[in-house]
């Protein structure tokens, strides 16, 4: 991979190298798993610097704690990088989520609850709500506005809430590909491509698992990524074993073989999803020692996202009294 020589980010990168030390190591995650109560697990998080100082968090607040933690990372990036627009591709996910929430709430006559909205986002959730109510899309980025209009039209025609998600998911990945291509970073392109590929594979396996017709796959698949739609349609017709062997020339062969074995054992895609995250961590680790460019920042942001996912797995497991081995089995690899 071509290394970046863009020195604009050295300050933030070095800062992140210090902060990275506080990321949860496998040993700390293990401590959380072995904690007797959710409170003890939360204390490990607190010791690791989660949350804002001076605020008390109870076990029930862990979801707020986690979202604040992600916001902290984003805020650090925003405060220290010269061009904040470059990180848009990381957060538009939240915008599309908020868009879905607002549309679904409107169509089903519900109030939008703040707790359902995600931040950080390009357009703050509240503002998005007002814009949608007035059907004023001019304040939104073009792909978002187009997809919002499209999903409103599709919903009015079909009265099916799923189409909202389907259209917006596609638009989200399309938008993300567009933004990340604009960065001209080989690493980011590879990462986003991998995200698209793995999401497509996940949706393909899920559609197959719930025995959907081939036409349904068409409405799921995201354009872009390493493969064309034909390839996925071909895979869809194959048995699980052949899916892996059909991907023998791709980067995902090992991942698919392992996860299809797990799928056959448990009937669940949990194994696949875990391996996908591990694959992404491996991609992120390739820039662990980079000193220039946007890459380490992107890697840190996403690594933190995965760390938070791990913490959530443990907290949900602890609160619901899941066995330790069951929690351990689901944990993703860590970045540090």
């Amino acid at each position: 991979m071509k290394e970046s020589t863009d020195t604009r980010y050295v300050y933030t990168i070095s800062r992140i190298r210090v902060i990275e030390q506080k990321m949860l190591s496998p040993a700390m995650l293990e401590r959380m798993i072995e904690a007797g109560t959710p409170e003890e697990a939360l204390k490990v998080l607190h010791d690791a610097g989660y949350g804002y100082a001076g605020e008390g968090y109870s076990v029930g607040d862990y979801e707020r704690l986690l979202s604040e933690e992600q916001e902290k990372v984003y805020r650090l990036l925003m405060e220290t990088v010269p061009d904040t627009r470059e990180f848009d591709f990381l957060i538009i996910k939240n915008d599309y989520h908020n868009l879905k929430v607002c549309l679904k709430a409107e169509f089903s006559d519900q109030a939008v609850e703040d707790a359902y909205l995600l931040s950080p986002s390009l357009v703050p959730g509240k503002q998005l709500m007002d814009l949608l109510r007035e059907r004023n899309f001019s304040g939104l980025p073009a792909p978002m506005a187009e997809s919002a209009a499209e999903s409103i039209e599709a919903f009015t025609k079909m009265q099916d809430p799923q189409v909202i998600d389907l259209i917006l998911d596609k638009a989200h990945y399309g938008h993300m590909l567009m933004l990340s291509d604009g960065l001209g970073s080989e690493f980011v392109s590879k990462l986003v491509n991998a995200l698209v590929d793995l999401t497509n594979l996940k949706m393909l396996l899920r559609a197959k698992l719930i025995k959907k017709p081939r036409g349904f796959l068409e409405s799921l698949l995201i354009e872009g990524g390493s493969f064309d739609k034909e390839f996925y349609h071909k895979l869809f017709e194959l048995g699980y074993d052949q899916i892996a062997s059909a991907c023998v020339d791709t980067e995902y062969y090992r991942l698919l073989t392992e996860s299809i074995n797990a799928l056959k054992l448990s009937g669940s895609l949990a194994g696949f999803e875990k391996l996908c995250d591990n694959y992404l961590v491996d991609v992120l680790k390739t820039v662990k020692y980079a000193i220039f460019g946007i890459e380490p920042l992107v890697a840190y942001y996403l690594a933190k996202e995965l760390e938070i996912k791990n913490v959530r797995i443990i907290m949900v497991g602890k609160i619901n009294g899941l066995a330790q081995y069951a929690i351990r089995e689901r944990l993703r690899e860590t970045y540090v």
Binding site: V10, I13, S14, R17, V18, I291
Partner: protein, 157 residues
């Protein structure tokens, strides 16, 4: 060449050599120390206790500019006021500036990278300063060699 008299060509060449020997590594060192400085500030804003380590590492790429300064000084020292250098000596002095200029620039940039890596290493583990300095000094060697070569060439003028 109406402007310059024939005798001045040698002197002008020597001055250009001196300027080259300083300006180019100077630019390199500035860039490298500048980037390393940002990196150091990044570390310090999270962990002020690492000041000494990151400061040493930040300062390392500045040596190329110092060597360039030495060479430029020596070259300028060869020019005697009121006495024109002959074309041959002027050319030699000009060429003497090149190794320091080019190698100094390149090594400053790369040493800057090693320094930043070293700073990041210090950021990760407290005691990594010595290793970082040693790694950066590996690059320093080429600047020193260039300094010696340039020095030797000046001696032949």
């Amino acid at each position: 060449m109406e402007f310059f008299s024939e005798q001045l060509v040698g002197t002008v060449l020597a001055v250009i050599g001196a300027a080259f020997a300083f300006i180019i590594p100077g630019i390199g060192s500035s860039k490298a120390v500048g980037a390393a400085g940002q990196s150091a500030a990044g570390v310090l804003s999270e962990d002020p206790t690492k000041f000494v380590s990151v400061m040493v590492l930040e300062a390392l790429p500045s040596t190329q500019a110092i060597y360039g300064f030495v060479i430029a000084f020596l070259i300028v020292g060869k020019i005697v006021v009121g006495e024109a250098l002959d074309f041959g000596s002027g050319l030699i002095l000009f060429l003497a500036g090149l190794p320091m200029g080019i190698v100094g620039y390149v090594s400053a940039l790369w040493q800057g990278r090693v320094s930043i890596s070293g700073i990041n290493m210090v950021a990760k583990q407290g005691g990594g300063m010595i290793q970082g300095v040693i790694l950066a000094l590996m690059v320093e060697m080429f600047a020193i060699l260039a300094l010696i070569v340039s020095f030797q060439i000046i001696g032949k003028a």
